[in-house]
Each structure stands twice: as structure tokens, then as C-alpha cells.
Symmetry: D2
Subunit: 417 residues, 4 copies
């Protein structure tokens, strides 16, 4: 397998350029038109069969190389409505239109540009050395991971009926850990996630006459405070749940009490009983706080997304872990435990009925990270995914990501193993 990596250094500059280009041009979920075009162009240049528009804006590339298993390698490629503040020369100033029709700044704040670049690098190496493996690589470039609905959209667009069912689903996510390190955890590895939109109905009026109104701003504040008690009082210490109100919007002017307030909630959990308990508590609290305000109309709770915990297959994970240790050394492969982040990559594995193995890829300059670790300031000093300051270092992040994908794919595709 050593040979196939021989060409990695020469890819380096090209990958860095590709990465910077993607980073400068982020696009929101289901609006990844330019990104899809760039990806499709690259895949075609490498000789893959390319289909665009799978699940609205997704791209599928097939690299067929004789008999053997089919390995699905997945990279998600949408960005976030975050205003970049990294100060990088290739920082984004892009804007987009969010689902509510607002013009918003856009940034690759979750590092999906890393995922795309690494997968294209891996495909380049695999396409350039067909002697050393056989089978099929199904490269899936997925839209709208941030909405939690992109994987489902591709499955619903008959992904497996059209392109075949893989033997395993593989992928990786860049994380605030030292670049050069990788991490993988068997079993529930990423939390299930539910997104809710809550609309609270008050009764508007003049700001000087609150007694003629039912103030939705106070209703929203009381609701947000009470929602904190779900995690603090209703979830056992040994269980895990996160309830975040990521967005609250009400009103326009200081002296008009508005009619409504809107909250957007995100809930993370690892088990169905906890998930059900938290969702039930949200509904109970939201309704009761509206009643406390004397609301004339019940709040409306809508699901924005909902997907279960990502569960890494135990056997496939053991194989991947062993490959990663052989590739990068024992000390570079960690078990991060279950993380509270969420991922919809599991939707592919569940739909195909095959094992999933999904790992984390460090993206932070190792020296910086270790200094913060020693100082006990990782949380303050190392911007995490979704932060306006999230800025993976280009190397060794990209090189590690490319190597990891190729090495793991070989575990299934190489006849020598």
C-alpha cells in the first residue's frame, strides 16, 4: 500500500488550492451549485462516472475497477450561515439566502470543505493506481448535512437503486483535535439530533401599553429559562442530552410589542427513551409557559429535522481502527468516546442495511493544541466547529485525511489483505 501514497506529496499543492477555493466559496444547504460543479469537474477529470443532482444538489461518482466489494466513501459539502472571522487570506465573504428568505453570511464553519478536498485527493490516488486494488468506489458528495436532511434526500432519490448497494459506508469529519491524529469510537458515536421551530403567539400592541397585549418577548424568555430545567432536572446524571435554543426572534422596534416570537431548538440524545422524554418535556413546557402568559392560541411546534444517533458497527470499526493504527501509529489514534455532535451519514448505512464506520480527523495545529491542553484552555483557545473562528490548518490535515480514506478503503478493496 506504500506505493499508492507515493504520489501524495505531488497532489499537495493542488489539494491546498482546491481547499482554499472551496473555503472562499461556501454555499448553504441545498444551494451547493458551484461546489457541485467543481466536484463533478474534478471527478470527470479523474475518469469517474459522474451523476449530478442526486437528492437535489448531491453528486455521485463511480470508480469501477473490476470485481470486488463496493465501498461508499462519503463527503458532505454544505456550509453554514456564519460570518467568518478567521482573518485568513482565503476567508469567506460569501452570502446566501437562508430558509426564511433572509440574506445571511456564509462560511465553511463546519469544515465540510476539508471533507470534499480529502475525498477528491483519495479518489485521485485510487484512480491513479488501479493495479493495487479491485472493486468499486462509490464517492458520495452529500448536500445539506447541516439540515440533517441531505442523506435522506439522496436515499429518497433512489441512490442505491440507481448506483448499487455498497458493502460498507465510510467517511470522516474534521474536528478540533491535533492535525495528524484520528479518532474512532464503536457503538453510539454521534448523538441523535432533533431540530424544532417553536412559534409563540402573543398579542401585539404599543410598547407603552403592555396591559393591552400578551407579550411574546416575555413569553419567549420565560420559556427559554424553563427549557434549561429539562437537562438540569429531568435527565439523569448518567444520561446525556443537550437542549439548545440556537435562535430567538421577535419584534422589530423597541416600542412595538410584537404578535409572535420564534425559537429554534436543537436537541441531542443517544437513546430513544431520553429523546422521547426531552421532546415531551419541551412540548409540556412550551405549552404551559404560553398558558402562564395567558396566550389566546397554543404555540406551534414544527420539526425542522430529526435523525437518530450515529452508531458505528462494532466489527467494521475494529477493522478501521486497526488500519488507522497501522497507518499513523498507535499513539495517533484515539477513542474520543461518544460526542454530542450529530451526523446524518448513518442514514446511508441504515438504508443500505450495511455496516458504518465513521471517524474523526484532527484539524488543529498540533503545537497550538498541545499548548492549550497543557494550559487547560482548550475550550477557550481552540475554536470548534460552527465557530466563526474555526480554521483547520491545511497540513497535515489534508494529507492525513487523504491517507485515512485510501488506507481504510484498501481494507475492503485490496486483494493483498
Amino acid at each position: 500500500m506504500g506505493d499508492i501514497f507515493a504520489r501524495l506529496p505531488e497532489l499537495g499543492d493542488g489539494l491546498a488550492e482546491l481547499y482554499k477555493d472551496l473555503h472562499t466559496h461556501p454555499e448553504l444547504s441545498f444551494a451547493e451549485h458551484r461546489t457541485a460543479g467543481v466536484v463533478a469537474g474534478r471527478l470527470r477529470a479523474l475518469g469517474l462516472e459522474v451523476t449530478e443532482g442526486v437528492g437535489r444538489t448531491g453528486v455521485v461518482g463511480l470508480l469501477r475497477n473490476g470485481d470486488g466489494p463496493t465501498v461508499l466513501l462519503r463527503a458532505d459539502f454544505d456550509a453554514l450561515p456564519v460570518e467568518e472571522r478567521t482573518g485568513l487570506p482565503y476567508a469567506s465573504t460569501a452570502r446566501g439566502t437562508d430558509p426564511d428568505g433572509n440574506d445571511v453570511p456564509v462560511m465553511h464553519a463546519c469544515g465540510h470543505d476539508v471533507h470534499v478536498t480529502c475525498l477528491i485527493g483519495a479518489l485521485d490516488l485510487l484512480a491513479g493506481d488501479r493495479e493495487s486494488w479491485s472493486g468499486t468506489v462509490m464517492a458520495v458528495f452529500q448536500p445539506a448535512e447541516e439540515l440533517g436532511s441531505g442523506a435522506q434526500a439522496m436515499v429518497d432519490d433512489r441512490l442505491f437503486e440507481r448506483f448499487g448497494t455498497p458493502d460498507v459506508v465510510l467517511g470522516q469529519h474534521v474536528a478540533p483535535a491535533p492535525a495528524g491524529w484520528v479518532g474512532i469510537h464503536a457503538g453510539p458515536a454521534f448523538a441523535g439530533s432533533d431540530g424544532l421551530r417553536v412559534t409563540l403567539y402573543g398579542k401585539g400592541g404599543h410598547g407603552s401599553r403592555p396591559e393591552t397585549t400578551i407579550d411574546p418577548v416575555v413569553m419567549a424568555a420565560a420559556t427559554i429559562m424553563r427549557l434549561q430545567t429539562i437537562v438540569s432536572r429531568e435527565v439523569a446524571g448518567g444520561e446525556t442530552a443537550v437542549v439548545t435554543v440556537g435562535s430567538v426572534h421577535a419584534g422589530t422596534k423597541e416600542n412595538i410589542i410584537p404578535d409572535e416570537a420564534e425559537l429554534k431548538l436543537n436537541i441531542r440524545s443517544y437513546t430513544e427513551p431520553v429523546r422521547a422524554k426531552v421532546l415531551g418535556a419541551v412540548e409540556r413546557i412550551v405549552k404551559a409557559e404560553a398558558a402562564a402568559a395567558g396566550a389566546l392560541k397554543d404555540p406551534v411546534i414544527e420539526s425542522l429535522h430529526g435523525f437518530p444517533a450515529l452508531v458505528n458497527d462494532v466489527t467494521a470499526t475494529a477493522r478501521v481502527e486497526s488500519v488507522l493504527k497501522a497507518t499513523f501509529g498507535e499513539d495517533k489514534v484515539i477513542d474520543p468516546g461518544a460526542v454530542t455532535g450529530s451526523e446524518d451519514v448513518g442514514v446511508f448505512a441504515t438504508a443500505a442495511g450495511v455496516p458504518l464506520a465513521y471517524w474523526l480527523l484532527g484539524g488543529i495545529d498540533p503545537e497550538t493544541y498541545l499548548k492549550a491542553l497543557q494550559a487547560g484552555t482548550v475550550e477557550q483557545d481552540i475554536p470548534a466547529n460552527h465557530s466563526p473562528l474555526f480554521a483547520p490548518v491545511i497540513e497535515p490535515t489534508l494529507g492525513t485525511g487523504v491517507k485515512a480514506l485510501v488506507a481504510v478503503a484498501f481494507e475492503w478493496l485490496s486483494p493483498h489483505r
Copy 2:
């Protein structure tokens, strides 16, 4: 004075058309370009000397008629970022750009279209019967009353240096009271108003990892709840203050904890000690709640507007009250006491150093109003100013407003009195 009103019926339909046109085409503060054009055209048609662009978008019309006092008649003409829900055939579907650059719906939810229409009707009558009075009418069409800064803008644009100093400042505001009625109160009649923008600084991050963030949404909610205690605990029962959080905005997506939250506050008070106490308490609470959240940066509190209580001159008010009673009958003139609404018309009187008399004009269908009064449901059933349902009846509102302006102006202008 009876003669001058003879022509009122024939104005009627024209005034109603003008009112509907203005109502259908509301414009936000300092963006009243079309409105200013309509007003200036009407004033020129009546033979007034017209100057546009006074205080950015204000219009001044001078109706000179020989020697005698100068009476300033004021009508404000901006609208509000409210989405009209009256269902009227002439309801607004207009949109505008708010000070933060957002595209928002616009509605004459405060009834300034009534003020403009009545003043134009009054000028029409006065211009058509120059025999019966002498002196000068200075018609001031003021922008941006809703920002609390339009009157000051006109004064700062050298209103009195350019057009002369009046002997009295007069005006009226439509209110949720029976049409055909008027109300006036001597002394402090409208509350002072302060508008504040509060920016709370948290630290953003992924919604699944609140422990790496300082959540500005929870900070905002805790602040809003604690702000309620100013009125409930810090202002004496016998004093009056209103603290409204009219707007709260933070975040974009459910799974991103934002960096900041923004509140807009409106504060009403009648006395300087209460005003100072409330403003001090707002600052204390906002800072302490940020500290409770562990904020790394103090909140920023900016003034959006600030003007003192409107104080009707005791002598001028007595004269106006007497005229109104003579014009409409004793039983149609009430003393509404001090209201918590605010008005910047006092800025003109203070700057000119002359008395102010400002009255309320009922705008609700009398039968509807009295039915609600008997049922004790005025607050629920009668939409007040700033409500998306605020809908003055055209008559007898407009007729009463025209008559009130002319009759009161005559008190100063007519030689017969």
C-alpha cells in the same frame, strides 16, 4: 365660525380618498418620500408657501393671512414596521427597509395618516375663508415621530430661524376612543420615552457543545425576565413606569449557538427621578446578567432615542378645552389623564419657548366602542395604536379632526374672539 365649516361636507369624499391613499402607501421614518410629495402637492394647490426636505423629509407650509399670531399646526407622517391584518380594502401591503437594513412590512398602525388628512382638510377650510381670520398658519408635517427624533431633526434644520417662531404649538393624535370624542389633559400628558439597544456578547459555537460557549440566548432570556422586576419591585405603586422589550434577536440556525443577542427596550416615565432610577436599573441588571453568564465582554447599551414627558401648558390647554367643548359639546370632551404613550411634539414648543396644547382624537366606531365598554372588553376587542388590527373609522374621525384643528386655530387667529 359656523361659516367656515359650511364647506366641510363637500371636502368629505376627497378627504376619505386622500386618507385611503395615504393608508395604502405607508412609509417608514425618514423614508416618507411619496407622502411628502403628496402633502406638498396638496399644499401648493391650496396656495401655501411650501418647503420640502426640512429635517430630511419634513414639509413646511405657510398660509399667510395678514397680521396676527402664528399658529403651528403639526401632523406627523411616518408609519411603522407592522404587517397590516385589518383586512380593509385599502389595507397596506407595502414594505420598507428598517434601520438595520431588513426588508419589513409597513403599516400606518399609529394613525399618522389620520393626522395628515385632518391637517390638509383644516388648511383647505382656512385657505378658503380668509375673511374670518388673520395671522399665519405654519403647517408642519413631521417625519420620524416613531423614532422620537423627527421633531428634533426639523428644529436642528433651523425650522424657526427659516420660517418664524410661532405663538403656540397645536396638534392632535388619533386614539382608541369613540370617534366624535376628543380628550385633553393639562400638565404631563404623555410619558417621556427612552429607546435603548442592548447588545449582549456571548461566545458562539456548536449547538451540541454549549460547554464551549457562553450562550447569549440564555443570557438574553435571563435579562428579559430580570428586567420585569424594575417595574414590579423598584418603582413605587404610586409612580408610573413601563419597561418593554419590544425586540429580541439572536442566532440563525437551531444548532449554532450565536455570538451575540440584541434587545431593544422602550422605557416610559413621567418624572426625571423615576426615569433615572429605571435607566440605572436597566444598566445594573444588563451588566449583572452578563456577569452571571460569565460573559467575556460587557454588554453595550446605546440610546436609540430619548425625549422627556409631553407637558401641556395649563393656560393654553384651558383655552383649547373650552373651544373643544363649545365645538363638540361638553359630553364629548374628556380628560383622559396622563397616558403612557409618548410624543415628540413637545420638542417644537420647548425649542420655540412657547406653549403647547396637544389633544387626543377618538377613532373607533362609537357603537362598537360603547358595546365593548359595557362588556368590559375594551382591551381585548378594540385594537390600539401599533396593533396590526388598528383601524380608525373614516367618519366621524376625519370630520372631527378637521373641525378640532380649525376651531382651536381660530381661538388664536380669529379677531372675533
Copy 3:
């Protein structure tokens, strides 16, 4: 009337001693046994007909002096469960048993000892100069004013059937104003008061396992915060209401989540609509906050007391005001407006169907008061009624109180007027 006051200086020391004795021996509502004994002894020594045990612990003294009107002079005589911190040589260290059976400190923190002393002084003067007046003085020493139920208890004990119906009900209350001053306000002068006990039902358990409980401590906290919004959002700026949670109790140990929490609320209002609105809002909020917590049982709301606003008769008040001005000088008689404090003395007047006039008596050293007034620090520096630091100065408080009672009684009793 000058003659009758001639003996006031010689009473002085005796009154001061009586005051200190009462102050050192305060007793809780309906437990004023020693106080009743002291009062009865004094009245008998002055030659009055004395009846004890009227309305449980009340005392009635009749000073009959020929034909003429009957004037009811009322002093309440119970104390409060407050731990005195005045540091006075005659400070209380007394303890008593509260209605819940707890042993608590007791203090004359509301100044009822002043009321008793002044009334005994006034009776002394009146009894000593029977030449100058005729009629009957009905001295009513009332228990349990602090519970809001003592006046009703005396009425229910057939006060007027047994001792005759007065022509007027008179009385006074010491206040944090300069000693030597008095104040009176016609119309609604003291707020109506409602006392409520709210029991919130959670479900107890181990402090480490909140998920197995329904935490009544958090339920209580959320309820208290939401109750603040009644005054801040539901009562108009021009109306007056006060909602105080004076007591909250739940739990015993840090690591046991208790089953219940108990709140005690006090509500002040001047009008029935506001009172009804506030009481309705309390019930709505308390129930909804329990629902938000997932309580298995509705909260229970019990009335601890409830009496309407004290309304001074306009004519009687005018007579009293005129007497007070004549007695103390125009500059010593103020109109304090309506105060948010409550008083059940109106129960006597309403039950008897006669006018009420009730005034305030300054109790603070005038120099200290005026210094604080100039510094704008009255609220911080001058301890008010119910404070552990409330400490009226003995003179000129007592002398002024005695003179006021005698002078006002003469207004009805003296043939010379």
C-alpha cells in the same frame, strides 16, 4: 381647645415610659394578651367603662360625657414576626408563635405601640377636661391588624350592637415622615390587600436524582419570576398594583428534594377591576407554572386575608384636614396621595355605615429626614414600617399624635365649634 393641651407636657414622661414598655413587649396578632391587660388597666384608671376580649383580644373603652355625638377612636395593637435590629435600649427580644406554629422573634415594626400610646394620652386629656366637650368617645384597641382580620373580628363580635354605633370613625398611623407632620388624603387612601398562601406540589426524592422527582424548589422559583410580570406587563401604567411574595419555604436539607413549596403573597390594589385582574393572573400563572414542571397535582391557593381599599370620606376628611392645619400649621399638613400600605380600619366605618377619616403621623426625627431628603437618600436611609430598623423618635411623635387625636375628636365633640 388650648386648655385641654395644657396638661400634655406633664403626661410626657409617662407616655414615653408606656411607649417603651409596649415596644419592649410586642405580641403577635390575636396574642396581644399582655398588651390588652396594660391597656385595660390604663383605661380603668382613667375612669372608662372597659370591656376586654372583644374580637378575641380587643379592648373597648367608653368615655361617656353627656349628650352629643359618638366618636370612635381606633388604635391597633399587634406586632410583627420581625427580629428587631434597632439597637435601642428598649429594643424587643420577645418571641412568639406564628400561625404555622413556629417560634419567631417579635417586634413592633409597624409602630402600633405609637398608636396605643397616643390614644391613651388622648383619652387621658379628654377624661381630664370633661368641661370642654360632650358626647361619647368609643376607644377601640384592635387586635390583628397585621392579619387584616382584627377589625372584622371585633365587628363580628357585635361591637356596634354592644357598644353603640359611632358617628364617625377616626384614627392614625405612624409613618416614615418627619415627626411633627401629619398627612391626610381624601378618597382611596390606602390600598386594598389580599393575602394568599400558595402550596406547590412536586415530588420529593434524593438530591442526586432529580430525574426521579418533580422539583418544587425550581417550580417555586419559576413561579416567583413569572409573578413579576403581572405588575410589569398586565397592569396599566396609570393603575396601581403591588404583588409581593413575602415568604417562600421549601425543603430541609441540601440533598433532599422536598415534596412541596409554600409561597405567601400579598397583593395591593385600589380598584376592584385591577384587584380581580391581578388575582386572576396569580391563579393562571401559579397553575401554568406547575403544569410546566409536570406537577401531578394542582397547586392550592388559599386566602389568608382580603379587604378592600381604605376610602376616606371626602367631607369628614376636609374637616379633619382643616383641624390639623389649625392645630399644627399649614406647612405641617401634607397630602401624601394614595399609599400602597393597607389598613383594615375601614371595616369599622363600612360596618357602621358612617364616614371614615384616617391620617398619617410622622415618626422620624425631622433633621435626619430632611437631610436624607436633600441627599435624595430617603429610601435607603430612613427605615420604613416593617423594617427591623424601624424606630420612631419618641418626641415630637407622641405629642403630635395625642394632639391630633384630641383636636380631631373635638371637631365632633366640642360644642364651641
Copy 4:
């Protein structure tokens, strides 16, 4: 080992009587005088060397039986200020005086009566069959576990200097699991616990004049609500912390705003970083909420207790687990994971520098438990420790607890193993 259990059935009734007697006569921490007397009497009857008054009210019994290791068997014996509501014929109606001097109900709501009974039963068996083992059993009956300070008090009273250092510390705790089952977890098994008393300083006054006060009731409520955000926002999903406000007390009457409020907090955590973070956040929030209220004096935070997580020694735990499986069957021994309850038994092991193995003993009727488990209603239906309804079934609880202690002690004491 079979022989030693032969006598267990004949102990049965006596143990049940002992258990009921202890249950009916619970005593608060450090007031276990009767309990200590009963224990000492039983131990002397079994022939142990008995010392009372170790660590105030603790009892140590030594059962010497030739050479061999010393095994410390520990039972804690204090009860809780909880009012029993089990309705059992042997329910407690006892009362005691809590640390604040209040008279309170007392109940064995944590099941320490089970611990004492089982240990006495085990000593009875061990004392009755000295042939089958050799070494020393050090029976430690510990006071004040509920205060978290009893174990330390015994160590500070020179426990090990006076009675020798054991080779292992063993013990058990009854839990809401099926009787007949036992559970043990290696590593951190019980949370560390901190108890805090927080005194909030407001400024009292009359309930009708909140503007003259700084309301400590509202301060307490805002603080309690904000404390919820520590667990909901500041502790990572994968970490464990519990912050409980078990007690809040302020005020006496509804119409007096008190000077102060007192909170008692309990904090559970498994690691020092989390513990430090939570304690820091409590201090930050408490201070800031006082500042938000305008408090004139900082709150005071006092430690009521503080002890680290209980960590079961991995090797000793493996030995115990193996013995329990051999004794009760594989299916009756579970790994409950780390629980959020706390225990100070680890203080003995740490002070002695020897391994600890501490296990859980099911106490609920198995049929009842399994029915609730199937219905998913364990939390609602099965009262847990500290509940007024906590009621372990006598058998098989006591028999299982006796057997577990003897079998595990034999693991160290029996030469046959």
C-alpha cells in the same frame, strides 16, 4: 461456606424485629444515641469488643479470630429529616432537632436501618462459626453519613490508631432495585458531593413598598433559575454533574419583605475539573444575581460538606463481583454504572490507604419492580432513597444483605479460598 449460612433462617425473625425497631426509631446525624445503644448491646451479646462514642456517636466492634487479615465492614446508621408516608405498621413518627434548631420529623428514608441490621446479622453468623475463618472483623457503625462528615469524624477520632488498620474496606447500600439482586461497579461508582449554604442579603420592608427594599425572595428565585444553566449549558453532554437546590427559606409573613434568603445546594460530580467548574459557576452566578438585584452586601457561601467521588478499587471489586456471582448467580449481579448518589465510605479506605469495594443491595419487591420496569414506570412507581415513601421489603432484602457481607468477608478471611 455453605455451613455458615445454615443458621441464617433461624436469624430471620430476629433480624426482621431488629429492623422494624430501628425503622420506628430513626435518629438524625450525630444524634444516633438510642441506635448506638441498640447496636452496642447486640455486639456485646455476640462477644465482640465494643467501643462507643467513636467520632461522637459511632460504634466499633472487633471480632478477633486468630491470625489473618482484618476486614472492615461498615454500616452507617443515621436517618433523615423526612416525614414518613409509607403507611407501614412500623412507620416512624419520630421527631428530631435539625442543625438549625428546628423540630423536624425523622425517617430512615435512606435505608441505613437495612445496613445496620444486615451487618449485625452477618456478625452473628461469623461469630457463630469461628471454625471456618480466621482474622479480624472490624465492624464500623458510622454516624452522620447524611452530613458527609461521619466517616471523617471517626477517622479524626483516631479510628485506625486505636483499632488497627484493615486490609480492605467493605460495605453495601440498599437501593431501589429488585431485592435479591446486588450491583457493583469498578472505578468511580458514587459521585463526589458538595453541600453549600448560600445566604442572600436583601433589604427588608413593608410588602406594599417594594421600592424601598431589595427583595431577597426575587433574588433567590432568579438565582435558582440561573443555577439551572450550569448543568444545561456549562457541563459537557459527556460529563456528569447535578446541581440541586434542596432548600430555600425566606420570610415569615406575606406582607413583610424579609432581609435575607437562604438556599442550600447539593452538587454531584465525578471528576475534579467538573467539580471545580461547577463550584466556580455557582459562586459566579450567586454573586452576579445579587448584583443584578442591587444587593448592598455580597452573598455568603459556606461549605456544609464536601467529599470526593467514591472509587471502587478495580482488583478488590473484581474479587467481590466474582464472590457475589458465585453466591447469588450470574443473573442476580449487575453493573449499575456510576450512580449520582454519594457516600463517604471512601474516606475510610483513603485514610487507611487500602482498597475499597462497596456494592448496592436491591430492596424492592422483585415482582413490583419488574412490573414497573415492563410498564416503563420505574421512576414514577418505585420510591427511591430519600423519598417519604421509600420502603424496602424485609425479605429477601435482609437475607441477601447478610449473605453478601459474609460471603465477601470470607473472600479475605477464609483459609479455604
